[in-house]
């Protein structure tokens, strides 16, 4: 494979397939995430699938395309935001007297808008997990081993 091809990613077949499926994978991740409280799945699984859609993009088109869609700084921001949202929702439970209390009306079981804070917590977890897994993948891709020397950053 020549260096020019490596920059633009894999072959036409892979890139075309990836282009067609990436949207569906992302959508499926959002579906798993948003129905986490009524069906199998949830924040972690949804977050992983969302991250996989971006990882797919990176595999097919190379790291530059994927990183232009989701830069490192943004990934890091979303990861921390996820953790802080989770913590804030947990803290809001103190309005009802308990840490992590499910303080919103629970609604009808098995409906999409039900289960109080659980869908919101799932959203926060998916941000944290999705951004985290993408960040780990990016770290492996960008990692360069320079023998001996070099200090931090």
């Amino acid at each position: 494979m020549s260096s020019k091809e490596r920059q633009t990613g894999m072959s036409v077949i892979v890139r075309t397939t990836a282009r067609l499926t990436v949207g569906f994978i992302l959508l499926y991740g959002i579906y798993i995430l948003s129905h986490g409280h009524v069906s199998p799945g949830g924040g972690f699984a949804g977050g992983v699938i969302i991250a996989l859609s971006f990882i797919n993009l990176m595999l097919a088109y190379g790291k530059d395309t994927a990183l232009s869609k989701l830069p490192k700084a943004v990934t890091s921001f979303f990861e921390n935001l996820g953790a802080l949202i989770l913590l804030s929702i947990a803290l809001l439970g103190f309005t009802g007297g308990y840490f992590f209390l499910n303080f919103i009306a629970k609604g009808e079981p098995f409906h999409l808008f039900s289960a109080g804070t659980i869908p919101l917590l799932n959203l926060a977890i998916s941000l944290k997990v999705g951004a985290g897994i993408f960040a780990i993948f990016v770290a492996f891709v960008l990692l360069k081993y320079e023998p001996e020397k070099n200090k931090k950053e």
Binding site: N80, L84, Y98, F99
Partner: protein
Amino acid sequence: MTTAVNIIPIFVIVPLAGAFMISIGGRKLKWLADFLGVLSTAGLFIAALFALKLVNEYHILVYSVGAWKPPIGIAMVLDGLTAFMLVTVNLVALMIAIYSVKYMEHFTSKWKFFTLFLLMLGGMNGVIVTGDIFNLFVFLEIAAIASFALVAFGVERHELEAAFKYALMSTLGSLFVLMGIALLYGFTSTLNMADIAAVLAQKGSSNIILLVSVLFVMGFGLKSALVPFHAWLPDAHPSAPAPISAMLSGVLIKSLGIYTIFRIFGNVIGVTPAIASILMVLGCISMVVGGFLAIGQWDLKRLYAYSSISQMGYIILGFGIGTPLSILGSLFHLFNHSVFKSLLFLGAGAVEYATGTRDMKKLGGLMKKMPVTGMTSIIGTMSISGVPPFAGFWSKLIIILAAVEAGQLWPAVWAIVASVLTLAAFLKAMKCTFWGDVRVGLEKIIEVPFLMKFSLITLALITSVGGLLLIPGIQNVFLNQAVGVMTESADYLIAVLQHI
């Protein structure tokens, strides 16, 4: 129960919130990491003192997370042992945070350091306050994974190697713990620690419990670096930046290893004579082997790391003997070791900060150039080797007396031998580093900045007057509350189970 019970989750919320806030804004705002790091640890220390007051008032407090009643929901328990550990951990963490403000300017990304530091602190506080055995495992992993990253913080070859070794060994330990928890859950069908103890009392003994005990001794023994499981510690602790060495040796191995052994064997599974003698043997081997290995070292921090193994031996020996007096000695030694070992590691960090090396063959005569670092390190040395009237003397004396009283003469002899070995190792370290003439090339050394001196002096003062904790009035408030939890574990059960 009062509203005061709401203080318990604070110990997990504050460090985690601090960590993620630093992570989100620390890259841009340089002052944020220092500010939030010191502020949150200071707040946690004050909260820990308040928790100690609460324990003296209410004896035991139980918090149900999310209003789910235990044993279904996660319980957080504040009792004497918890309050004791919280005060120890957060005191050392506060001192280290103050010290790191200046020290970490050596490194490029201080905000990453404080993020990981607070995550590790959150994990440790979580291990200490939780009353649920699986929750304990989760917090254990949070603290351990943050510490892997911190050991590798300098990203040089030997640091990465040490971190990899540490990660591998520690994960193996976690695996044993997880296996133990799984078997225990399979046997008792509950994860709440008090409930597990109640079910075990009802069902009687079984071979599964024997297997679980062995898995826990291996898993938590790996975390607390008892001798057959110690190989990771002498690499990992010296490789980290000095404040983290102090944190790892000072409190991490205690809250992840020693505290969990105390809690699970003391309150949940119960100490059988076989387990007690295993712990005593491990304690004696750790004391003596750690002491011998320390003498041979020429790297200042590596010497301190080996002596940590030796001192862990004392704590486990005290717990293995199992009389109230020996447990008192053991807990008191735990507190003292946290203070003087973090003092010594911070002192070694100050030497490295000023001279750029920690090889004892290249150091010498630093007392004239760095009087504060020198004096505080010598106070730490005298305390760890058991010179009266420093705190380390009293705790070792209690452990040895308790061993004699319980008829365990050989452990008492080994404890004295290990004390002599410690003195020898530390006299070597002090002689090569601080006494004698100033080495060529070290003439221009100056004393470290004020904030670093502040931590050193405070810790030195605490270890100098630490013996005062044994005065009856103070002992009842601080140490006896914790000893009571270990000796009257039925109270723990009853108090927690009342909330079910």
